[in-house]
Structure formats: C-alpha cells, structure tokens
C-alpha cells in the first residue's frame, strides 16, 4: 500500500508538472521556473516564521507570494536595464541564500531542513495523511490533486488566450488581452505547482519535472494539445521507472526520477525518426555521398 502511495505521488507530480511545463517551454520562460523553484524556499520559510506552523495552506500562500515576488523582481531589474539571464540569476540566488540563512537562524530544529527541501522525502509521504470529506489520503496527494485541479481549470478556461499570448503577444495585446495579467497568473500557477510537488520530491525534481518532460514533448509534437499529452506521459514514465530503479539500487528516489527524465530525453533526442540526431547524421552522410557522386 505504501508503495502505491509513493508511486501515485510521483505520477501526480509528473502529470501536474508536465502539464504546467508545456507553456514554460513555449513561452521561453524555463529559467524563471528554475528561479521560482529556488525562491519558493524563501516563501515557505517566511510563512513559517510568521505563522509558526508548517500547515499546507500557509506554505501554499507563502510559495505563491514568493513566486510572484520573483517574477516581479526579475521584470523590475530588466526594466532597470539588466539583461534577462543576469536578472534571473541575481534574484533567485539572493532570495535562495536568504531562505537558507533564515532556516539556519530561525528554524533549525523544525522539520524544515535544507536537505529535505532539496531532495524531498517521497518515501515518507504515506505517513503524513489528511482527512478530507471522509477520505484519508496522504497530504502530498491531496495538495497535488488540488493544484492539478487549478491547473486544469486555468488551462480549460484560458487555453485560447494562453496560446495567443504565447505565440503572438503583439496581436494579443492589440485585441485587448491582458498579457501582463496572464503572465502573472500563469507564474502563480507555476509557484503553486512547485510548492505542492516539492514538499514530496524536493526542489531538484520539481525543476526537472517542469522542464524535462515538456522539453521532450516539444521534440515530439507539433500541436500544443499533443505536447501536453506527451509531456504528462513522459512525466509519469520517469516517475515510475525512477522509483523502481531507486529501489533496486537503494538510492535517492527523487534524484533517480530526475535522472530518468534525462534518459528519456536523450532517447528521444537521439533516436527519434526523421529529426533525431542519428537520423540527421545518416541524412548528412547520404547527402555527402550523393554530392561526391555528382562531382565525380
């Protein structure tokens, strides 16, 4: 039964992050997600310092605020004349350092330690349960389900708008779509996803899960909807294979899942028919051969 909950949590992380990650890749904001996954730590620590509790609700609030703050600060520095990559780098390292400092200073004895934040403890997920509406399920599963619901609702209602602001922001602006508001609400969603996932699997895996499956799916598909389906599929596959390999070699589950994301990406990248790396190599060789023939 415990194994079931761990697998379910991993798969839910794969689905939720896979779904959210699609627009991260398409909007070229993958590194902002990386930044948010670091600064969420800061939000959680501050939420803990204010409320003195580690309840899921306040963690979500803290994370959402930290995500918005990150997005806002990056925009602010950019408008102040700093290039984007440096703006992201400055903001997330500073806030992350502040978060680590606060933990060592004020929250050293609590469950909130830095290693837990980085690597998560998905193996302990089944023991921390919540009872809602008579169902008793692990807290991580509840949080992931709620955030997944948010994600689905957002994408269901704003699918068209998201597509338009992503692919043709100038046109979107000219027909009166609030592109700034869309950007911020999407980033809030990314922060919520991050915090729900990282409590169980750690910050490392969240970034891997947000970017990896969607990037792989990007190679596989030519429409947004297909990309979403592929992305969720790759997320689940990485979670399940990663779990069993980690069990086999007795090592970090979250780390192994991240490694599997890398393996899946590489498989697709190298072997995919028509535009995989090997296929391209063959084409290049063939082209050279025909050229040689023509020349001779």
């Amino acid at each position: 039964m415990n194994e079931f909950w761990v697998l379910l949590t991993g798969s839910l992380v794969g689905i939720t992050c896979g779904l959210t990650g699609v627009f991260l890749i398409l909007r070229k904001t993958a590194m902002i997600a990386d930044a948010i996954s670091h600064t969420v730590l800061f939000g959680i620590v501050v939420a803990f310092m204010i409320t003195q509790s580690l309840s899921g609700f306040w963690m979500l609030v803290g994370a959402a605020i930290a995500g918005l703050l990150t997005t806002f600060l990056v925009q602010l520095l950019q408008s102040g004349g700093l290039q984007e990559d440096a703006a992201i780098g400055v903001v997330f390292t500073s806030l992350f350092a502040l978060g680590v400092l606060f933990i060592t200073l004020f929250a050293g004895n609590v469950h909130l330690d830095v290693e837990h934040v980085l690597m998560g403890e998905i193996a302990f997920v089944p023991w921390d349960t919540w009872d809602i509406l008579g169902f008793s399920m692990p807290k991580a599963v509840w949080m992931l389900l709620i955030v997944l619901l948010f994600n689905i609702l957002f994408l269901f209602f704003f699918y068209k708008e998201m597509k338009l602001t992503t692919f043709d922001p100038v046109f979107a602006l000219s027909i009166g779509l609030p592109i700034v508001a869309m950007h911020y609400s999407y980033m809030t969603l990314v922060s919520l996803t991050t915090v729900a996932a990282f409590d169980s699997v750690g910050a490392v895996l969240v970034v891997a899960m947000l970017i990896g499956p969607a990037a792989t799916a990007y190679l596989m598909s030519k429409s947004v909807l297909r990309m979403m389906i592929w992305s969720m599929f790759f997320g689940i596959t990485a979670a399940i294979t990663g779990y069993y390999l980690a069990k086999l070699w007795n090592t970090s589950i979250a780390g192994m899942m991240a490694a599997m994301i890398g393996v899946i990406f590489m498989l697709v990248f190298v072997f995919k028919p028509h535009d995989g790396w090997i296929w391209k190599m063959f084409k290049r060789i063939k082209l050279k051969d025909t050229k040689v023939h023509v020349e001779s």
Binding site: G89, G255, D275
Partner: protein
C-alpha cells in the same frame, strides 16, 4: 583575531572573489550567466564520481571530477541547442536539473558506503570556507591566481570577441578557440569555488558582482575592476561573518553580501542607477511642463 587559518581562508575568499568577478563579467557580457549556473550544479555528480572511483577526498581529484562533468554539461547545452528546435533556456534548465539529480543519486550512494558518512561531500552543496584545510586553500588560491592571470592576458582578445566577433574573425583571431577558452575558464572558476561556496550558489559569485558593476560604468576596464572589487569584498565579508557563528554556511552569506552590493549599485549608481534615472525623468517631465505652459501663454 586573525588566527592563522582564518587569514588563509580570507586570502582564498578574496582571490576567489576577484577571479569570479573578472571571469563573470566576460560571461555576463556574452549573456552566458545562466550557463555558469548549470555548470555549477553539474559539478556535483563529478565530485561524487571522483570520490567513488578514488575513495579519497583530496581536493585536486574532486576538482578534476567536477571539471569533467561541468564541462560536459556546458557542451551538452550547446549540443542540444545546436541540434534541435529547443531554445537555450530550456536546454539550460534541463541539463542543470538532470545533472543535479544524478549528483544527488550518487551522493546518496556515497553516504551509504562505510567511510562515506565522514567524507564531508555534503558540504559541497552549500560550502564551508571557514573550515577548509590549509592545503585545500593553497589549491584554491593558486587556481584563482591562474584565472586572474588568464583574464588579464586575454583581456584585449576577449573584448574584441565579445563586442565585434565579425571584425575579430576578420583580423584573424581564432574566435571559436577563444570562446572555448573562456568557457573552460568559467568551468575552472566554478570548480575552484565549489568547496568554499557550494554548487548551488557558486553561480551567484559569477553573476552578481558583474551585474552590479555594470551599473557603474560603460567601459569594460572599469566594469572589470569594479566587479573584481565587489567579488573580493563580498568574499571577505562573507567569510568573516560566517566565522562568527558555527553552523552558518559560507555560501549563502557571501551571496547575501554580494546581493547587498548589488542593491546599492542598483539604486545609487550615478547615471545608470535607479535614483539618478528617476531624477532625470522627473527633471525632463518638469522641463516639458514648463515648455508647454510657455506655449499655452
């Protein structure tokens, strides 16, 4: 107060700050700041592999392992971007998280082995400059000196390569090789700093001083000197502050010192700073209002 070891640590941190400040400025101007972040994260699996293979924690061996995986990560980012439709940000984020995940996997394996628990490899995540051994500090300092020397040596070539690559190629500079050299030096900077600052925050040493220095001037020479000065200052302050209390990791403190310098630069730098810009905007508006009023009359 400056007992023997702390003095050494201080010298190491200052040299590291200068090296990262100089090298970071070149990376910053090439818009490669986040590649440094990926390379720093990717050092973790290399450290773990080096430890697993050689079963010892001599710094040169661990540094070699770290350098190999960092360089591999940078190469992979370029390979992915060059061979697919994925953009640089996705490639960086992907490589960074996967390499770090593999690093965590290997670190867990190291920690489970009998001697691994005392290996202190976990310190590489956040850095422990204040407790570094003297022999390690000698390595750190000489490596940092090498980086500083190289930056001074190739100043003119890199300047040309960054601002006018076409012209540089035209007068016969080996632009591609210069670029590879710069990347290699970035990797070396990261590898030098990881034991002191940690893999997660090492990128900050490359990014923040350079970004802060950019606010003070438009001349590369002045930016480099300012960036090196900011790097040295935050390295020194961070080391001193973190030595006051046990349990404080050096990395975060150094980064926070650098971040404070950045904030000061962002607000108070002349001409490019926030306050000076807002004042200028205000003055401009006022002048226009006066003009308009004059026109109306």
């Amino acid at each position: 107060m400056l007992t023997g070891n702390l003095l050494w640590v201080l010298i190491g941190a200052i040299l590291l700050g200068v090296a990262a400040g100089l090298n970071g400025t070149f990376a910053f101007l090439q818009k490669q700041s986040l590649v440094g972040d990926a390379a720093a994260h990717a050092a973790l699996p290399g450290i773990a592999i080096a430890y697993l293979v050689f079963q010892q924690k001599d710094l040169p061996i661990l540094m070699l392992g770290a350098a190999i995986t960092s360089a591999l990560a940078v190469y992979m980012i370029q390979w992915i971007v060059g061979n697919s439709k994925l953009k640089a940000d996705a490639a960086i984020g992907f490589v960074l998280s996967v390499f770090f995940g593999i690093g965590i996997v290997l670190l867990t394996i190291v920690n489970q082995s009998s001697a691994g628990n005392q290996s202190g490899l976990n310190d590489f995540i956040f850095g422990k400059a204040a407790t570094m051994a003297k022999s390690d500090l000698v390595w750190l300092s000489s490596s940092a000196l090498l980086i500083i020397l190289m930056c001074l040596l190739f100043f003119k070539e890199w300047k040309l390569m960054i601002f006018d690559p076409v012209f540089a190629k035209g007068i016969g500079l080996p632009v591609e090789r210069l670029r590879v050299l710069l990347t290699a030096l970035t990797v070396l900077t990261i590898v030098t700093g990881i034991q002191a600052v940690g893999v997660i925050l090492m990128a900050a040493m490359l990014i923040i001083p350079a970004a802060a220095a950019r606010f003070w001037s438009n001349h590369l020479g002045i930016i480099l000197v300012t960036s090196a000065f900011f790097g040295a200052l935050s390295g020194a302050l961070g080391t001193i502050i973190s030595s006051f209390r046990t349990g404080l990791s050096t990395g975060p403190i150094i980064v926070l010192c650098a971040a404070s310098l950045f904030l000061i630069s962002y607000f108070f730098a002349p001409t490019r700073g926030f306050i000076s810009k807002s004042l200028k905007k205000k003055a401009f508006k006022q002048r226009n209002v006066v003009k308009e009023a004059a026109n109306h009359e």
